[in-house]
C-alpha cells in the first residue's frame, strides 16, 4: 500500500499518458491533417531556414514530431509523450521532497491541468504542435536557468543572454522560463522588481527585433508567436492564456501550504469531478464533422476504399469534403451507380468540388481529379492548395501528387525538382527513389499507375470549365475510348446530380457499350425508368434491360406521389427522391446561368 502511495503521482502520470495516447489514436484524421500541411526536410538548409525565425527551434522540433503522424498510432504515442513531458516538468518544479504522498498526488493533478487545457485548445486544427513543444521546452529550461541565477549579477547576465536566445528558439513562451526562474528562485530577493525589469527588457527585445531582423513580420505576430498558429494574422486568446495559467500553477506553492490533511478527501472529490467535466468537455470539443472529414481524407490518401465505405455506414458523411471521399471510394469499388444516392447528396459539389481559395477544401477534389486522370486539374488544385497553406508551409503529400502529375505529362525536369525534395523526408523518400528511377517516357509508359494515367488523361488542349463538369468528364471518358471507366461513372453521376435526364439517357444509349456496361447500375435504372415514365405509361418498348423490381418500385412511387406530393421525403433514398428534391429546389431558387465573362476565373492584374 505504501508503495502505491509512494508512486501514486507517477501512476497518475502513466494513466494520463495512456489516456492521451488512446485519445489521439481515436483521431487519426486530425493527426494526418497536421502531417499533410508540412514538408519536413532532413537537410541543414531546412534547419537553418526554420531556426532563423523567432520560435524556430520549437517549430523545427514540432515538425520533426509531426512527420511521424504519417502513422497515426505512432503520432498518438509521441503526443502522449510530449504532454507527459510537459506535465512532468511542471510537477518537478512544484513538488517538494518534504511533501506527503497525498500532497504530491495533488500536485501531480494540478500539473496535468495545463496539458489538459492545451489538448482542449488543440481541437482547433490550426493550433500548431509547435505550441506545446515550445511550452514544454520552456518548462525544461527553468531548472537550468535557476541553477545559474545565484546573484544579482548572474541574474542580469542570465536574463540578458537567455531572453534573446530562448525567444529565438521558442518564441514568446520563453517568457514562462524566465519569469518562473526568477519568481521561484530563493536566491532572488526582489522578485517583483526583477520580473518587472525582465518583462520590460523582453518587450524592448521584441520591438528591436521587429525593427531589425524581422521587419517583414507584423509586430503582433512577434509578440504572440510566429509559428504557434497556422493563420499568421489570427491570434487566439489561448496563445497567451496558457502561459499565464502555467505561471499561476507554478506560483501556487503558497496555496499548498494552507491545505490541511482533513480536506484532502474533499479535494480529490473536487478533482475527480473537475477531471470528469474536463474529459467530457474535451471529448465534446473534438466531436465535429470536421474530424470525420479529416479521417475520410486521410483514408483517401491511403486508398483505403473499402474502409471508407465501412466508415460511411457508421458515420454518414455530412460535409462536401466527406461526401466526395465516400463517392470516390464507391467509384473505385464500382459502386457509384449502385449506391451514391443512398447518401444525402445535394449537388455536383458533393462528388467533385470547384477550387476554393483555402488549403483544405480542394484536397478531396484533387484526389478525385488524380484518380480520374484529370492531370492538370489535380496539379492545379494541389499547387494552389499548397500555396494557400496560411503559414507558408509546403506539403509533402501535395508535392508528391504534383510530381506525379508532371511525370504523367512528361515534364521530367520540373518533376525532378519535387522528387529531389521528397528524397529528404522519412516517409516519402522510398516513393521519391522509385519515381526518380522512372523519369523517362519509356519507363512511365510501362509503369502500371503512371502509364495508365498517361493513357487515360486528356490528349487535347481544352479549357477546364467547372460549370460544364459533365461535358469535361464526358470528353475525358470518350477520349480514352472506353478505358477511363471512372470518368464514365463520374460523367453519369454528374448528369444525374444536375437532373439532366434527357442528356443522361441520350448519352447512355450512345456510350454505355463503349464502357462494356452490360449490367445497368441501380441508380441508372432508376433514372432511365423515370425518364421513360415522362412519355410512357408502361415499359413496353424500353430498350434497356431494367429490373422488374425497380419497375414495380417506380410504379408504387409514382402512385404514392400522386396521392401525396411530399411522399418522397419519407421513403428510402433513391434517384427518384433526389430528383424530387432538386425539382423542389429549382422551383424555389430558379436556375441561374453564366454570362460569357464568368467563363473564367477573375484575377487582379
Amino acid at each position: 500500500m505504501n508503495h502505491i502511495r509512494e508512486y501514486s503521482p507517477y501512476l497518475m502520470l502513466f494513466v494520463f499518458a495512456s489516456a492521451v495516447a488512446v485519445f489521439y489514436s481515436k483521431l487519426p484524421g486530425l493527426l494526418a491533417f497536421h502531417e499533410m500541411y508540412q514538408f519536413f526536410l532532413l537537410t541543414s538548409t531546412y534547419f537553418i531556414e526554420k531556426i532563423s525565425v523567432a520560435g524556430g527551434l520549437s517549430d523545427y522540433i514540432a515538425e520533426f514530431i509531426v512527420q511521424f503522424f504519417y502513422h497515426p498510432k505512432l503520432g498518438a504515442l509521441l503526443l502522449a509523450l510530449l504532454y507527459t513531458a510537459q506535465s512532468a516538468s511542471i510537477y518537478i518544479l512544484i513538488k517538494s521532497n518534504t511533501d506527503e504522498w497525498y500532497m504530491r498526488l495533488l500536485k501531480m493533478c494540478l500539473s496535468l491541468t495545463p496539458a489538459i487545457l492545451v489538448i482542449a485548445f488543440m481541437s482547433d486544427e490550426n493550433m500548431m504542435v509547435s505550441y506545446p513543444v515550445a511550452l514544454t521546452l520552456a518548462l525544461c529550461a527553468v531548472p537550468l536557468l535557476k541553477h545559474y541565477i545565484r546573484s544579482v549579477v548572474s541574474l542580469v547576465l542570465i536574463v540578458a543572454i537567455a531572453s534573446p536566445l530562448l525567444y529565438m528558439m521558442l518564441g514568446p513562451v520563453a517568457i514562462v522560463s524566465i519569469v518562473i526562474s526568477i519568481a521561484t528562485n530563493e536566491k532572488v530577493e526582489q522578485k517583483l522588481l526583477s520580473v518587472s525589469g525582465f518583462l520590460l527588457y523582453f518587450v524592448l527585445l521584441i520591438v528591436v527585433l521587429s525593427r531589425t531582423f524581422f521587419v517583414q513580420y507584423p509586430s503582433e505576430s512577434l509578440f504572440i508567436g510566429v509559428g504557434y498558429y497556422r493563420q499568421p494574422t489570427s491570434f487566439p486568446s489561448q496563445l497567451y492564456f496558457i502561459p499565464l495559467y502555467i505561471i499561476a500553477v507554478l506560483l501556487s506553492d503558497k496555496l499548498f501550504r494552507i491545505v490541511k490533511k482533513t480536506i484532502i478527501p474533499y479535494l480529490f472529490v473536487v478533482i475527480i469531478v473537475l477531471g470528469t467535466i474536463a474529459i467530457t468537455g474535451i471529448s465534446k470539443t473534438y466531436e465535429s464533422e470536421k474530424y470525420t472529414a479529416m479521417q475520410y481524407i486521410s483514408m483517401v490518401r491511403q486508398a483505403q476504399w473499402q474502409e471508407i465505405i465501412e466508415l460511411s455506414k457508421r458515420e454518414a458523411p455530412r460535409s462536401e469534403l466527406s461526401k466526395q471521399c465516400v463517392m470516390l471510394a464507391l467509384a473505385k469499388c464500382g459502386q457509384l451507380g449502385e449506391q451514391m444516392f443512398k447518401y444525402n447528396l445535394n449537388r455536383v459539389e458533393d462528388i467533385f468540388d470547384t477550387f476554393k481559395m483555402d488549403c483544405v477544401s480542394a484536397t478531396p477534389s484533387a484526389e478525385v481529379a488524380y484518380h480520374l486522370a484529370l492531370i492538370n486539374t489535380c496539379f492545379r488544385y494541389y499547387f494552389d492548395s499548397q500555396e494557400a497553406i496560411p503559414n507558408g508551409n509546403k506539403s509533402a503529400h501535395m508535392t508528391m501528387r504534383m510530381a506525379e502529375c508532371l511525370m504523367v505529362n512528361g515534364k521530367y525536369d520540373a518533376a525532378r525538382k519535387y522528387i529531389e525534395r521528397l528524397k529528404h523526408t522519412i516517409y516519402y523518400s522510398d516513393w521519391a527513389e522509385e519515381a526518380s528511377a522512372s523519369l523517362s517516357d519509356e519507363k512511365i509508359d510501362i509503369n502500371p499507375v503512371w502509364g495508365e494515367m498517361r493513357r487515360l488523361r486528356f490528349k487535347t488542349e481544352n479549357f477546364f470549365f467547372y460549370p460544364q463538369l459533365d461535358t469535361e468528364l464526358g470528353l475525358l471518358a470518350i477520349e480514352s475510348e472506353g478505358r477511363n471507366t471512372l470518368a464514365w461513372d463520374y460523367f453519369c453521376a454528374t448528369m444525374l446530380l444536375k437532373g439532366d435526364l434527357q442528356k443522361f439517357v441520350g448519352i447512355y444509349h450512345y456510350a454505355s457499350e463503349m464502357f462494356h456496361q452490360r449490367h445497368i447500375p441501380l441508380h441508372y435504372q432508376e433514372a432511365i425508368l423515370l425518364f421513360w415514365s415522362f412519355g410512357h405509361s408502361n415499359t413496353d418498348g424500353l430498350p434497356y434491360p431494367v429490373s422488374q423490381e425497380v419497375v414495380a418500385r417506380l410504379t408504387h412511387f409514382i402512385n404514392k406521389i400522386k396521392q401525396n406530393q411530399n411522399y418522397w421525403k419519407n421513403v428510402p433514398a433513391s434517384y427518384w427522391t433526389y430528383y424530387m428534391s432538386i425539382q423542389q429546389r429549382n422551383q424555389h431558387q430558379g436556375n441561374t446561368g453564366t454570362t460569357p465573362e464568368q467563363r473564367g476565373n477573375e484575377r487582379e492584374g
Binding site: F383, N462, N601, G605
Partner: protein, 487 residues
C-alpha cells in the same frame, strides 16, 4: 539572421579540400551547371560559380587565368570563387578572355577536362542589381510572395516588401523609371489594395479604380521625365487547360491604355487608346514622345482566346501638355503573320525595341512558344533572337539603365514551370551574346531548391530603400488618394 546562421554553418562545415593526383585527361569540356561555357559577362558581375552536372562529383579544382593576366583558384564541392579575387581578375581582363581549367574527382578518380572560356565585355553593367517578384507560379492563390532586390556584384538578396508585411496581400510588379528606384510604382492587391507611387514628392498611396475606367492600373511604364506613368487598365480572367503541354490562359475581358499624371493623380485618356479593342502593356520611347503599346481586335472571350493577336502600335505623347495624340500608328501588324506581339521594351538609347511573339494572347510567359525579337527602331527591321531563345517561354525582358546593350529576361527553359533570370548583351548589329543564368553562391543547390519564379524582373541603378514598417502602416490605414479621369 538567416545569413548569419548560414555563414556560421558554412564556417563550421569541413570543406572539401583535396588536391588532384594521378590526373587523367578526358579530352572534352566539362558539362557544367549553369551552362556558362562561352558566355560574355560584365566585369561587375558576381562570381560565375558553377558545379559539374554530374551528381557523383566528390571535389573539383578550378583554375581561371585571364588572357590579360591574373589567376584565381578554387577547390571544393563546387566552383566557389572569392568575390574580391574574382572582381580583380575580371577588371584586369575587360575586353579579354578568361580560361577555365577544371579538374574533378569522380568516383575516386581525378579527371582533367579541356579548358573553356568566358569573355569579359568591354560594356559595363552600371546597375546596382535587379528587382523581381519571387512568386510560386500558381493559379489563384499565392503565399509568401515578395518584391526583392539582388545585388549583381555579389550574392546578396534583400526583401523590399513581402506579402506577410501587409497581411498576406498579393503584390504586383515593381516598376521603376529606367532603373531609378526614386521613381517607382508598386501594386498591392486584396483587402488593403492600393498602388504605391514614389517620385520626387515622396510616396503616395493611391486608389486607381474609378467608375469611368474599365479596371485598375495594371502594367506600368514610366515616362522618362518622371511625372507621368503609362498604365494598361485591365480586367483579367484566366482559364486552365486540361491537356499535357499548356497550363494556364490569362486573358483580358477589357483593356485600355491611360497615362497617370503623378502630380495631379489624373488619368489621361484618349479615345484612340480606350476602344472596344484590347490595348495593353504600354512603354514610352527613349525620348518620351511616343507611347508604344499592344493592340488586338476585340473578340468575344474566352471563346476567341486563341484568335487574339496583338499588333505593335504607337501614339504620340505631349509631355508639356500631358496629352496623348488622336491617332494610332501600327508599327508591326502581326495579324498578317498570325502571331501575337507583347511587352514592347525600347532600349534607353532609342536604338532597339525588344518584344515577344507567341501564337496568341498577351501573357507570353504562359506560352511555351514565346520568343524574343528585336527591332531596329531606325530601320524598322526585326529579327528573331535565336541566340537567346529556348524551346520554352522566353519573355519579360528589360534593358539595363546604363543604355549599354545589357538586358535581362525571364525564361522557363530549365523546367517548363519556374521562370528564372538570364542576362545577355546586344551589340551594334542587334545580335546578342549567349545568355547566362543569374549567378548564385551555389547555383546548383540554389536553383534545385528554388520554388519561386523570378517574375517581372528589372534592373535597378541603386539599392531600393523602402521603410517596411511605415509602408505597412500606410497600407493598413486604408487612407488613399483617389485617382480621377482627366476630362
Amino acid at each position: 539572421m538567416k545569413y548569419l546562421l548560414l555563414i556560421i554553418t558554412i564556417i563550421l562545415l569541413v570543406a572539401c579540400v583535396e588536391h588532384p593526383s594521378n590526373v587523367t585527361k578526358v579530352g572534352i569540356q566539362p558539362k557544367i551547371y549553369p551552362d556558362y561555357i562561352g558566355v560574355t559577362i560584365p566585369s561587375e558581375i558576381a562570381p560565375m560559380n558553377f558545379s559539374l552536372e554530374e551528381e557523383n562529383v566528390e571535389c573539383i579544382e578550378v583554375t581561371v587565368k585571364g588572357v590579360n593576366g591574373g589567376e584565381i583558384h578554387t577547390n571544393g564541392e563546387w566552383a566557389d570563387f572569392d568575390i574580391e579575387d574574382w572582381h580583380n581578375l575580371t577588371r584586369q581582363n575587360i575586353g579579354a578572355t578568361l580560361k577555365f581549367s577544371v579538374v574533378a574527382k569522380i568516383e575516386g578518380k581525378w579527371k582533367q577536362y579541356d579548358t573553356f572560356e568566358m569573355y569579359v565585355s568591354e560594356r559595363p553593367m552600371s546597375d546596382y542589381g535587379v528587382t523581381y517578384r519571387r512568386i510560386a507560379p500558381g493559379f489563384e492563390t499565392f503565399s509568401n510572395i515578395g518584391i526583392y532586390q539582388r545585388c549583381l556584384a555579389n550574392f546578396e538578396e534583400y526583401a523590399i516588401l513581402e506579402s506577410r508585411a501587409v497581411d498576406g496581400g498579393c503584390m504586383n510588379c515593381h516598376y521603376s523609371n529606367r532603373g531609378n528606384p526614386d521613381q517607382f510604382s508598386l501594386h498591392i492587391r486584396g483587402k488593403h489594395g492600393c498602388t504605391i507611387l514614389r517620385n520626387e514628392d515622396g510616396d503616395k498611396y493611391v486608389d486607381t479604380k474609378t467608375k469611368e475606367t474599365v479596371g485598375s492600373c495594371t502594367y506600368g511604364y514610366w515616362h522618362p521625365g518622371g511625372r507621368y506613368c503609362a498604365y494598361s487598365l485591365n480586367r483579367i480572367y484566366q482559364n486552365f487547360y486540361v491537356g499535357p503541354d499548356k497550363i494556364i490562359e490569362p486573358w483580358d475581358a477589357v483593356s485600355d491604355i491611360a497615362v497617370l499624371d503623378t502630380k495631379t493623380n489624373e488619368l489621361i485618356m484618349s479615345s484612340a487608346t480606350s476602344t472596344k479593342d484590347f490595348e495593353t502593356t504600354p512603354a514610352f520611347s527613349a525620348d518620351g514622345k511616343t507611347l508604344y503599346f499592344c493592340k488586338a481586335q476585340y473578340r468575344d472571350m474566352p471563346a476567341g482566346y486563341d484568335k487574339v493577336c496583338y499588333s505593335l502600335c504607337s501614339i504620340t505623347f505631349d509631355e508639356e501638355h500631358g496629352r496623348m495624340g488622336d491617332s494610332v500608328s501600327v508599327i508591326i501588324d502581326v495579324e498578317k503573320i498570325k502571331k501575337s506581339l507583347s511587352l514592347p521594351r525600347p532600349s534607353f538609347d532609342g536604338r532597339w525595341l525588344m518584344y515577344c511573339l507567341s501564337d496568341y494572347g498577351t501573357t507570353p510567359l504562359n506560352r511555351m512558344e514565346s520568343d524574343l525579337y528585336i527591332m531596329d527602331i531606325q530601320t524598322g527591321e526585326t529579327r528573331l533572337m535565336d541566340e537567346v531563345n529556348s524551346r520554352e517561354a522566353d519573355a519579360y525582358h528589360n534593358w539595363s539603365s546604363g543604355a549599354n546593350g545589357w538586358f535581362l529576361f525571364g525564361s522557363k527553359r530549365e523546367d517548363h514551370i519556374y521562370s528564372l533570370l538570364y542576362f545577355a548583351c546586344v551589340d551594334e548589329t542587334g545580335h546578342s551574346t549567349k545568355p547566362f543564368l543569374m549567378p548564385q553562391r551555389n547555383p546548383k543547390k540554389y536553383y534545385r531548391d528554388n520554388l519561386h519564379s523570378f517574375n517581372a524582373p528589372d534592373f535597378t541603378a541603386k539599392k531600393v530603400e523602402l521603410d517596411v514598417i511605415q509602408t505597412r502602416a500606410r497600407v493598413m490605414s486604408e487612407s488613399r488618394e483617389q485617382v480621377k479621369v482627366k476630362h
